[in-house]
């Protein structure tokens, strides 16, 4: 039993890690508390459903279209909401409140178009494999492999490409990036595109297994944030570690208590971290003065 839950936790954790990485990519570099990120995760499977089921387009093509549309939504948020505010030098709170506004609008638009109830994309039950007395479903394998591949690719990319160096430079000092005539607004678009990509993949992977409703984004965002904090803000490996730890922790809390309590446990862990180790597992301490 224990190992079964551990493996389930690791698989869920890998999706947390991917989604959290997308959030961290925006948060670490722009310091925007990007609450609207939740809707990217939610909206991607709805796009997929539209093309796959309503318009009967082939699965691969539908997935590609859904991901592209999600990325466009992400870019639109940056272009039409954040960028003008940043230009006006608005405070972080103003950005966050606008982000909440975007989230409210998107959730209710989706609810208007598709209804409030849970929608299923893939009605067939997934095949499963049995190793000893551990059961792993086909979907779980897909989830784990896909998120690992994307995380891995991103890490390599971050380390060795020019993009990676620019990202890390943005994280450390945006003003300095401007001084070195880096195209900061343009680069931000790249960041929002990648973060949209991660949210879309995470959303589709989860929805393929469990279906979705217009409100799935917020709980996932909360998990992503908790993963980011317990990993440590400022480093890009942190959300990955945090996501895996959180996934395992939640799976074990399901084993010990019940599934209903897992949000409360995630946030209790968050509060404990904020209190005793605000820099997370591997983050750096912030200086006050």
């Amino acid at each position: 039993m224990f190992i079964q839950f551990l493996i389930n936790g690791l698989i869920t954790g890998s999706i947390y890690a991917l989604v959290s990485l997308g959030f961290a990519l925006v948060y670490n570099t722009t310091r925007i508390f990007h609450i609207a990120y939740a809707i990217l995760y939610m909206i991607a499977p709805y796009f997929l459903m539209t093309f796959l089921i309503k318009l009967q387009i082939s699965p691969i093509l539908s997935i590609l279209i859904a991901i592209s549309l999600t990325i466009i939504v992400s870019l639109a948020t940056e272009l039409f909401v954040y960028a003008p505010l940043v230009k006006k030098k608005s405070s972080p709170n103003v950005l966050m409140i606008s982000s909440i506004g975007v989230m409210i609008i998107a959730i209710n638009l989706v609810a208007l178009c598709y209804g409030n109830e849970t929608k299923i994309i893939n009605p067939s039950l997934s095949d499963s494999y049995k190793i000893g007395n551990i059961i792993i479903t086909y979907n779980q394998i897909i989830q784990f492999i896909t998120s690992s591949v994307f995380i891995g690719l991103f890490m390599v990319f971050l380390k060795f490409s020019k993009f990676g160096i620019m990202t890390r430079a943005m994280r450390d000092d945006t003003e300095l990036c401007k001084v070195f005539s880096m195209n900061v607004p343009g680069f931000r678009l790249v960041l929002f595109a990648i973060s949209g990509l991660f949210a879309a993949i995470g959303g589709i992977l989860t929805a393929w297994d469990f279906g979705m409703d217009p409100y799935v984004g917020m709980p996932m965002l909360l998990n992503a944030i908790v993963a980011l904090i317990i990993g440590g803000i400022g480093k890009f490996q942190a959300p990955v570690i945090g996501g895996l730890v959180l996934g395992v922790l939640q799976a074990l809390s399901v084993l010990v208590f019940s599934a209903n309590w897992k949000d409360a446990i995630a946030f209790s862990v968050l509060v404990l971290f904020l209190l005793f180790r605000p820099q997370g597992f591997i983050g750096e301490k912030r200086r006050l003065v």
Binding site: L85, I97, I100, I105, L109, L112, N260, D263, F267, L274
Partner: protein, 291 residues
């Protein structure tokens, strides 16, 4: 007529919520996503006091405020060491934890089934607050008291100190002000008054369940005061009136109910975005979130 009275009672409830939340958001620059949790604690304590203990009105109200104040003190103690985003996160965490407890601890809170049949409270054991007229009087008196109290606070040296802290914490420290204590006081005071709204809601509707006090509600309260504006009394009051009246206006212009629920939220969202861009102080507020 009852319909108009019902709207007025809801407006009173939201005036209490937004005027007291304003002390945090507009005066102390503490953006809290946990206000609905305090609203809920106030409502649940009211339910227990009226059903279980059979207390009269004033003791129930004071008990609801007191218990909420204790919870908010605990949260303040934990979260006020944290800065900016971390503070918001801690309040968010608190909101989720309280909601999960209300929803899942079925032995105590009856979870998703909610608590039905909350009786009307009696004033001094004599006058029973009954019917919609009783509640319109009660809620108007309580919201008037809330407005008066917060008007006094904002214009007192305490209010000035909060504004100073909002502008510049380092300068406040250098002038010998204990900003942690200031923040805790603002936090506890604000939550205790939010509990009044919970009290009215629980006894008026006579049925409560956790979904009235979830994160969406917390965001909704925040929306109300951000639309109206923060930093003074006028702004939050206008915001409360706006968010309560808008769905009624939509219904009035003939929008079908199933559409109206989503439409009003979309309008709130749009209003928030447009206000933040062009008028961060809201319709009638003072504070522009300039820091």
């Amino acid at each position: 007529m009852n319909y108009v009275f019902h709207i007025l009672i809801m407006i009173n409830i939201y005036i209490i919520l937004s005027v007291s939340t304003n002390l945090l958001v507009g005066m102390a620059n503490l953006l809290s996503l946990g206000q609905a949790a305090f609203y809920g604690i106030g409502a649940y304590v009211t339910a227990y006091a009226l059903i279980g203990l059979g207390l009269p009105l004033l003791p129930t109200l004071l008990l609801a405020m007191g218990v909420t104040a204790i919870f908010s003190f605990l949260l303040a103690y934990i979260s006020l060491k944290l800065e900016g985003d971390y503070f918001i996160l801690a309040t968010l965490g608190f909101q989720i934890i309280i909601f999960t407890i209300l929803y899942n601890w079925i032995d105590v809170t009856r979870g998703p089934y909610g608590i039905p049949g909350i009786p009307s409270p009696k004033l001094f054991g004599l006058v029973k607050i009954e019917g919609i007229t009783g509640y319109i009087i009660l809620s108007t008196i309580l919201s008037a008291i809330t407005i008066f109290v917060f008007y006094k606070i904002i214009n007192s040296p305490f209010g000035r100190a909060l504004k100073g802290m909002r502008d510049d914490e380092i300068a406040m420290i250098s002038l010998g002000k204990n900003i942690t204590v200031l923040k805790v006081e603002a936090f506890v005071l604000s939550s205790a008054f939010v509990a009044i709204a919970g009290f009215i809601y629980a006894s008026y509707i006579s049925y409560i369940d956790p979904t009235s006090f979830n994160l969406d509600e917390a965001i909704f309260i925040l929306t109300a005061i951000l639309i109206g504006g923060t930093g003074n009394i006028k702004g939050p009051v206008i915001g409360a009136v706006f968010v309560v009246l808008l769905p009624e206006i939509l219904r009035f212009v003939g929008m079908p109910d199933n559409l109206a629920a989503n439409m009003r939220m979309i309008i709130y969202g749009l209003t928030l975005i447009i206000l933040m861009r062009y008028r961060p102080q809201g319709i009638a507020g003072e504070y522009k979130f300039s820091k």
